[in-house]
Structure formats: structure tokens, C-alpha cells
Symmetry: C2
């Protein structure tokens, strides 16, 4: 069995940048996990003394790292009012939709955010709207149908969403409204990892997608892979690999979400090789 890595996988620009920032911020805590990967969070704690807390009340240090997904405007203001030192590791691709939502809401547009209302990035982006009552988070066209929108609409997307799903939202809006100002805020890294997994999953007969199970972009990679290769598996670490998955397989494709560190990917590839040797 051959093992092949997708042409593009793993850490994106924003995550690499956030980790570099964290590695230089010994003694700081991140508010919420810096990235969606528990093993990387552990490494930062053990090797760089960078912890994380889940709620604002629990912060007992003076240095707070704002994570890649960003935080809400209100949380940021609260931290500033407490005199905390804020180290901003928000991905610039997330800062962008925050700015767009602020500007469009100021200009009288109804704002549609395509994404998951429970995702911290989306919560942060929405918080920047100047008109919360006219800012709507939707995951699909059915949700849109329940909203009475004005004639002028601006639409942005959570950075890690699938473009094909975003286009469904856009098409429904364009069909039914006079002006739709579409900001494609889906980030290129997501595109590139998605394209590469699509390509690879067409030739592979087993696909291993590595990433945190609470990571939205990893789940998207898994779904794209599953479309082309029925034997696709989403795993967080090497222990989850099962030898029987690899029996009679010729090509094992490997990809990883945007918050999966390289060291973890290499560990898993090593383990797959061992299983392969055992199977053969």
C-alpha cells in the first residue's frame, strides 16, 4: 500500500502566525483554545508556558492572547477595560469579515453571515455589526427563507466554509433581491486544502483526515473526501487508527485540517506504515 499526502494540507497562514505569536508570549493565556487542536494546545502549555482559559472570569494573568478565530467586540472591550495586555493573534482573514460586517451595517445593508452561529469566529464577526437586529447568521437556504430581508444585502462567509454551499446562499439572495454585495471571505488555504483532498480522494481507496473533531474545516475536508472515497476516516490521533481499515488497500491518502500540526501528521503516517507492514 502506498501512502500519499494531499498537495496542500494542515496549518494555514493564520494558524502558523498565531502559534509563532504564542511561542513568544510565555506566561500569557489564550481566551479559548488558540487553535482547534487539543494536542497542540498541550504542547504550547508544556513547552512555552502558554495556557488557556474558557471564560473571562477565570483569567488570572495580565497577558491575553486573542486566538485565530477572534473574539467578540464586547469581550475585547471588557478585557481592555480591565487593563489587560491584549496580544492579537486573530487571523487577518477573520479580521476582514469583522470589518466588512461593521462597515456594511453602518451603510444600512442587511447583513447575512453564512456560518455556524455557535462558532467563535462567527460570534466574533457578528458582534461587529452596528445593527444586530438586521444581522442574520444562517447555515443554509431554508434558514434564509424564514427571514424577511431588505432590498440591499451584504453577505460574508465564515472563513472555513465550503464555497459550493456559500454559492447556494448567494444564488438565493440574488434571485430574490435587488442588490447583493457578496464578500467571498472563505480563505484560500481552505480552498487549497479542499481542492487537494478532492483530487486525492478520487484516486485513493482509503483516506485518513487528521484534525480536531470540533474543527469545522477538518469536518469539511472529511465530507469532501467521503464524497469520492467511501472509506474516509476522520481521526484526532494515531490511537484511533484501526488495522482492518487498511486491508486490501492500494493507496492511502492523507490530509489534515488547518489546525493540525505537522508533528502529529508525521506520527500518524508512521503508525499507518507500521499497520501496513503488519497487514502485509
Amino acid at each position: 500500500m502506498q501512502i500519499k499526502l494531499a498537495n496542500s494540507y494542515g496549518f494555514c497562514f493564520g494558524v502558523k502566525r498565531a502559534i509563532e505569536i504564542a511561542e513568544k508570549s510565555s506566561g500569557a493565556v489564550t481566551y479559548g483554545a488558540l487553535i482547534h487542536n487539543p494536542l497542540e494546545i498541550e504542547r504550547l502549555k508544556n513547552n512555552y508556558n502558554v495556557g488557556y482559559v474558557d471564560s473571562l472570569d477565570k483569567i488570572d494573568t495580565n497577558k491575553i492572547i486573542i486566538r485565530t478565530h477572534g473574539i467578540t467586540k464586547e469581550d475585547k472591550e471588557q478585557l481592555e477595560s480591565q487593563g489587560k495586555e491584549l496580544i492579537d493573534a486573530t487571523c487577518p482573514f477573520v479580521t476582514k469579515p469583522q470589518e466588512i460586517v461593521k462597515e456594511m451595517s453602518e451603510n444600512g445593508y442587511d447583513v447575512v453571515i453564512f456560518g455556524d452561529i455557535n462558532h467563535p469566529e462567527v460570534k466574533g464577526v457578528k458582534s461587529y455589526s452596528k445593527n444586530q437586529n438586521r444581522t442574520f447568521v444562517v447555515l443554509n437556504v431554508d434558514e434564509l427563507k424564514n427571514i424577511k430581508l431588505k432590498e440591499k444585502i451584504a453577505v460574508v462567509a465564515q472563513t472555513t466554509r465550503k464555497i459550493s454551499e456559500f454559492l447556494k446562499i448567494v444564488n438565493f439572495l440574488v434571485e430574490n433581491h435587488k442588490e447583493v454585495r457578496v464578500f467571498n471571505t472563505i480563505c484560500n488555504a481552505t480552498f487549497e486544502n479542499q481542492d487537494a483532498v478532492k483530487e486525492l480522494s478520487k484516486e485513493a481507496d482509503i483516506m485518513i483526515i487528521i484534525g480536531g473533531k470540533n474543527s469545522s474545516n477538518t469536518k469539511q475536508l472529511y465530507l469532501i473526501s467521503k464524497e469520492n472515497c467511501n472509506d474516509s476516516y476522520l481521526i484526532e490521533n494515531a490511537d484511533e487508527l484501526k488495522p482492518e481499515w487498511f486491508k486490501n488497500k492500494n493507496l492511502c491518502g492523507v490530509s489534515a485540517g488547518a489546525s493540525t500540526p505537522e508533528w502529529l501528521i508525521q506520527n500518524i503516517i508512521k503508525k499507518i506504515k507500521q499497520i501496513k507492514d503488519y497487514n502485509e
Copy 2:
């Protein structure tokens, strides 16, 4: 054989308005045909003394009617400089994309017009751009692929185009550019006639679409009809009907383009009834 009219067909708001304006403008000429229907043009000449001319040089009256499709900014300025009295029958749904193209080009957007570069409406709309070099008329995605566009794009449509084709253009732009400002300038009347012909052509076994053969929206109706009902015919007048078309047919659907007058539709229905009686 039953004969059934589509739920929505024929004259739209803009055409009705233009004809009313023309009927009150005895002695005027329209620059270009007022609407895309030769028989209606003849009626206006005979009953209301409203002629038309093909080129600016041929105008020998002082009163000029600007037709529903609008004219170019340059032609308008030339006529004004000659001291002509301009009677504006431009459809308000056409004035809208003219204004949008002007405003967006002033604001630094690359402008994409989805339509036929040879159509007078499109020529008129394009002429309002303040940056002709950054204003592009395209009929399909392949044409778009040949153009290197900036990151900020505004897109409008010729009012009589199919929304599904417009969405292909929009989707390509959204997939490849950061900001796409989509103005859905396709007019509702076109939608309504299209929806109705789609519906009717699914149940009919012969479809007669009435309209000028140089009328873009009539051709669209014909194409939609043809998708569902293979025996679809586009005719301009009753003489074109062929008895053999109607043999062994149960339901004849009838629709008409946005510039087809009611009296013509009724004439044709009368003729179909005669053929039917002859066949039976």
C-alpha cells in the same frame, strides 16, 4: 385540442408605458424601433403618426421618442445639442442598470454587464460607464475567463436575460474575487413570463411562442419552452402557423414576448382555432 394561454405573457409594464407615451406624441419619431415588434410599429405609424428612424442623421422632426431599451449617452447628448425635444420612454428597469453602471464605475469597480453587446439596451447601459476600459459585456463564463478583473467587481444584467445564466456569471465571479456587488436587474415581468411558459410547456404537447424574431426575451421564452416541449414554435404572425404542427395534439400552449401586442395574440389564437377545426 385545447388552447391555453400562459398565466403571464406579453406586454410588460415598460412596454405598455412606452406605447402610451407614443400614442400621445403624434408627429414624433422614435430613434430605433420603439419595441421589438414590427406589427406594433406599423400600427403606431398608421394610427398615431409616430414613425421611426434608424440613424440620427435621418431625423427630420423635432420630437424624438427614446424607446424602452434606452439609447447611448453619446446619442442622447448629440440629440440634445441639436435642440431636439426628447420624450423619454426608456423603461425604468433599463434606466436602473444605466445608473448603477455609472455609479459603480465612478466608485472604482470593474463593471461586468451580462448581456448581448449588440443589443441596444446593453449598448445604452455600457455607454454610462465612466471607465469604458474597465467595463465588460459578456454572454457567458467562457468570455469572463478571458478577462483579468480587479478584486472589486459590480455586475448587472440585461433586463431580459435568464436568471439561471446570470447566476453562472455571478458564481464564477464570487468564486474568484473578493467583492462582487451583484445587482439583479433582470425584470420581474421577464421572470413571470418565463415561469409561466415553463409551467405550461410541461403540460402542453405543442407550444406557440409569439413575438418578434429579433426580440431577446421572446427567444428566451422559446428556449425555455423547447426544453420541456419539443414541439415549440416561435412565430411573428398568424401566416407562419402550419396545420400539420397541430395534428394529434391535445393541448396547445400559447405565450408571447414582452413586446407582443394583445391584438396580435388574439389573432393568432383565432387562427389556431380555425386550423384545429380544419384538422378535426
